[in-house]
Symmetry: C2
Subunit: 223 residues, 2 copies
DNA sequence: ACCTGAACACCGTTCAAGT
DNA sequence: ACCTGAACACCGTTCAAGT
């Protein structure tokens, strides 16, 4: 039985928060954070900037709703029936990959820490640590380390994306950085010089996951 | 023998990059990131906005120079003669405390990863990991985990500060968040509800350091 | 109830004109 | 060489006026 959602109007050009958020996501993904303007958004929706304010309080709320949309989708698809460590890795990678595809999301976690997006991540990580049998005494430390790491990297990646145009060549940027490192004073920066080659060929995602595993290994030592 | 720095002019009202950066830091510290405006800066220096552009390319460079000033001071004061783990903790806490006092600095690490501020942190952490005897194979993982964590938390704290006015009551905010957590659905968010009380009384700095120690413990397991 | 679009109060940045 | 400040091309947001 298909019970039609009895929407008041079927006109596809009627404005709604859902349509506004959808359009905002499209603009953010294709043009980056700088491209989202109330004027650009209004143009895409064939209306004036003022119309958007009837459905959305301000730009902050709009960005929050857009981020919730993305993270909500990620968290809904996390496989929850695996071993606790595996679920923690899946949540972490889910967030990482979402920020990779939609860098602007990374800035939004700190906007309101109790919005559904963040809450789902918080609960997902914390619940698995309990399932892992982490003692009450260190549970809060373990949880905050993981959450700080995951959301911190998300924010850094978002900041990086904001600096670089949406279609920058990652490999070229890494190569340029590595080359500049190799030219540093060997006496002042021996380590950075040495690590430059590895840095050029590294994969952000792998390094991110290695960090998660190091924290999990640390948790295991005091569990 | 006091060899006077033979500066061309002694007039204290002469504009210079140093004076501009100093004034920018004062504005950023007292009013937050939103308060730094070329007009506000010009007013404080009793000149026009255009004059600043003679000494500084744009706002981005200005923020970078200001952040370098702060982090440079922190890194210069790190005690380097202690045990490697202690130095790593000292660097991490130095960065953390600097962002606590000057939240706007936290956004600047990702601006240019090879500016002196970031480089000094990178080298400081990496060098101590080598001193710790971390094997070549896992050195890069260990280093990137620590650096990601330190700069990630810095960025999150900066973002939090940008949302809240510079003189917000921390304890009141934490209390309000904890209260909202306690009202969440116990079936959907059991962990978050349970952790809310601890969250209200937690200390950001202690939690940050606990995370560092967990990563160090993880590194020790594969060293 | 919902939409329109001009207008307001800002930005960063530029640039001709001054000294 | 360095400074001035008006002007340009933008913002987010508001609001009287429309339907």
């Amino acid at each position: 039985m298909k019970t039609d959602k009895n929407q008041p109007e079927r006109r596809s050009d009627a404005l709604s928060k859902a349509r506004i958020v959808e359009a905002a996501i499209a603009i953010l993904d294709s043009g980056g954070e700088g491209a989202l303007t109330f004027r650009a958004l209004a143009a895409r929706l064939s209306t004036g900037p003022g119309a958007i304010y009837w459905h959305v309080a301000n730009k902050n709320e709009l960005l929050g709703a857009a981020a919730d949309e993305i993270i909500g989708g990620v968290m809904a698809n996390v496989e929850r029936d695996a071993a606790p460590q595996a679920v923690i890795r899946a949540i972490a990678l889910g967030v990482f990959d979402a920020i990779d595809r939609h860098p602007w999301v990374g800035t939004q976690f700190s906007r309101d820490p109790l919005h559904s997006a963040s809450l789902q991540v918080f609960e997902g990580i914390g619940g698995r640590l309990q399932a892992l049998g982490v003692s009450e005494r260190v549970l809060f430390d373990a949880w905050s380390a993981l959450v700080n790491y995951i959301l911190g990297v998300a924010g850094q990646n978002a900041a990086n994306a904001r600096i670089q145009p949406p279609d920058t060549d990652r490999a070229a940027v890494l190569g340029a950085i590595a080359a500049r490192c190799a030219r540093l004073d060997p006496l002042e920066f021996p380590f950075v010089r040495q690590v430059a080659a590895q840095f050029r060929d590294h994969d952000d995602r792998e390094q991110f996951l290695a960090g998660i595993d190091l924290i999990l290994a640390g948790i295991a030592t005091i569990r």
